[in-house]
């Protein structure tokens, strides 16, 4: 019976044609499968390449700074801020800044958070003392000035809201000034202030104030801009240095005063700065004569750029020997170490004429 079944089933066989057709079909399908595999691999490779390019570009875009905030007490450092409003890099402009706070701590923070962290570190290390008003310079630079100004405003607000005894000199700077500040390894804010000094004292050089604190520079400006400075005797040169609550406004007044004086003398200023500080509490850095347009809005600080000597020119023409001319200030001899004694703002301040109060 087995044989009968086998014989019967043996009659069922596929045609040769069917086998040939099937073989051909399978070959074609195999080739298509190979092509599909290659196509899939090519697509995957393309996607991988695109993803890699996008990742690199994205990382590059993220790491690319669009705004800069130069922070200066003195320690001085430069925060580089990306388009996502995050600190992506920190440039230390002096050794004090390097020991103040690590870059890792600041990287990834929002600028206002970073400034707060820096101030906390500065407070811990004695750069900011209770009972004394310290001045912090914040200078913003960005291709989009409005955005740079907004970042600056947030930073300023953060400082003002958290530190009552810290006055902020805030300014946006031009690209030229930023480049110039980088060239002399100095914060743009401090360079602004030094330039202001230079307009008051032609013998002053950038190196004189390289290691000076911002507070001492501000006090120096206040002193130089006072009327007593030129007219009074040595005893009466004692400049009154009250609490500085609104440094930016004060500096603007001084600048306007200088500017008006120069206009009268036919010598316009090379320095320009801008500020958006509200100046809600206007306390003069005595003895500051108020300019005629004192009540005006100080937000528009853009001054006509003059033909006066550039800071570089000042550096070239000013000598150390001439610094001792009025008053006895030696910025380059100052010690910028943290003030832990609480006696005065810093050594630079000590070199100022003694305060009357």
């Amino acid at each position: 019976m087995i044989l009968k079944i086998r014989d019967a089933l043996d009659t069922i066989n596929p045609d040769r044609d069917l086998i040939a057709r099937t073989e051909l079909l399978l070959m074609v399908k195999t080739q298509k499968k190979k092509v599909q595999i290659y196509r899939s691999l090519a697509t995957a490779a393309s996607l991988l390449f695109i993803m890699s390019v996008l990742s690199v570009a994205g990382y590059g875009y993220y790491q690319h700074p669009v705004n800069y905030i130069d922070f200066d007490i003195n320690p001085s450092l430069d925060l580089q801020i990306n388009a996502f409003n995050r600190v992506v890099a920190v440039t230390y402009l002096n050794e004090d800044a390097e020991s103040l706070i690590s870059e890792d701590t600041l990287t990834g923070c929002k600028p206002d958070e970073a400034v707060t962290l820096i101030l906390e570190a500065a407070s811990d290390k004695g750069y900011i003392l209770d009972g004394e008003t310290s001045v912090v310079s914040l200078a913003a630079y960005g291709r989009n000035e409005e955005k740079a100004q907004a970042v600056l405003q947030k930073c300023t607000d953060a400082v003002s809201s958290q530190y009552e005894n810290v006055a902020v000199y805030c300014t946006t700077v031009s690209s030229d000034l930023k480049v110039e500040a980088e060239a002399v390894s100095m914060s743009a804010g401090k360079l602004c202030l030094i330039k202001m000094i230079q307009t008051l004292d032609a013998t002053a050089t950038v190196d004189d104030f390289r290691d000076a604190s911002v507070s001492s520079i501000v006090h120096r400006i206040a002193y130089l801009s006072s009327d007593e400075n030129t007219d009074a005797s040595d005893d009466s040169k004692k400049t009154v240095i009250p609490d500085i609550k609104d440094v930016t406004s004060q500096m603007q007044r001084i600048q306007e005063k200088i500017h008006s004086g120069d206009e009268q003398a036919g010598e316009p200023q090379s320095f320009h700065s801008s500020s958006q500080h509200d100046g809600t509490e206007q306390i003069d850095i005595s003895p500051l004569p108020k300019p005629s347009d004192n009540g005006s809005d100080h937000s528009n600080m853009e001054q006509p750029v003059p033909a006066s000597p550039t800071p570089t020119d000042n550096l070239q023409t000013s000598g150390q020997d001439t610094i001792s001319s009025t008053p006895p200030y030696r910025g380059n001899e100052q010690n910028n170490s943290p003030n832990t004694s609480g006696q005065s703002h810093d050594n630079a301040t000590r070199n100022l004429p003694p305060s009357t109060n």
Partner: protein
């Protein structure tokens, strides 16, 4: 060992297993056209599966199993159930006896047909069939017994154990 290319693999598989696969397809579908479609479909699955077989026997068992399943799927499909089978030409037989035997086998219920075909034609033991069909050996014995009984009833004196 030389690894076969896809083309060589296809040719070798068709050479070795085409008869068995086609036979199973025809036993189930009783239709040359359907059997040919199923035949091509089964070998397509064989290529797509891209299996690595331990031996020729393993490969044969796999193809056998796939053939059964594919044919059962086709039988269950709506398309097959509504198709007319009357116009399909029958295979030619050498003797009338062969025709009767084949017809009797073709008319067996599917579950008996598997066991009868695998045992009487392919020569598998009950244990091997049980393993292949995922059932117990006793079930295979039972299927063989019932299949034989049906064949006896249909073929009468022609069927002898």
């Amino acid at each position: 060992m030389h690894e076969l290319t896809s083309c060589e693999k296809i040719t070798a598989a068709l050479e070795k297993h085409s008869n068995m696969v086609y036979r199973i397809c025809f036993l189930y579908l009783k239709n040359k056209e359907e059997a040919e479609d199923a035949f091509q479909d089964i070998f397509l699955r064989y290529i797509q599966a891209d299996m690595v077989f331990e031996s020729d026997e393993h490969e044969k068992t796999w193809l056998c199993r796939v053939s059964f399943n594919r044919c059962k799927d086709i039988l269950k499909s709506f398309r097959f159930r509504v198709a007319s089978l009357d116009s399909v030409p029958e295979p030619s037989y050498e003797t009338p006896s062969q025709s009767d035997v084949l017809e009797a086998v073709l008319k067996l219920p599917a579950k008996y047909k598997d066991a009868i075909y695998l045992h009487y034609y392919e020569g598998y033991t009950s244990a091997q069939i049980a393993k292949m069909l995922y059932c117990s050996e006793n079930a295979v014995f039972s299927q063989l017994s019932r299949g034989r009984k049906i064949l006896k009833e249909r073929l009468g004196d022609d069927f002898e154990d």
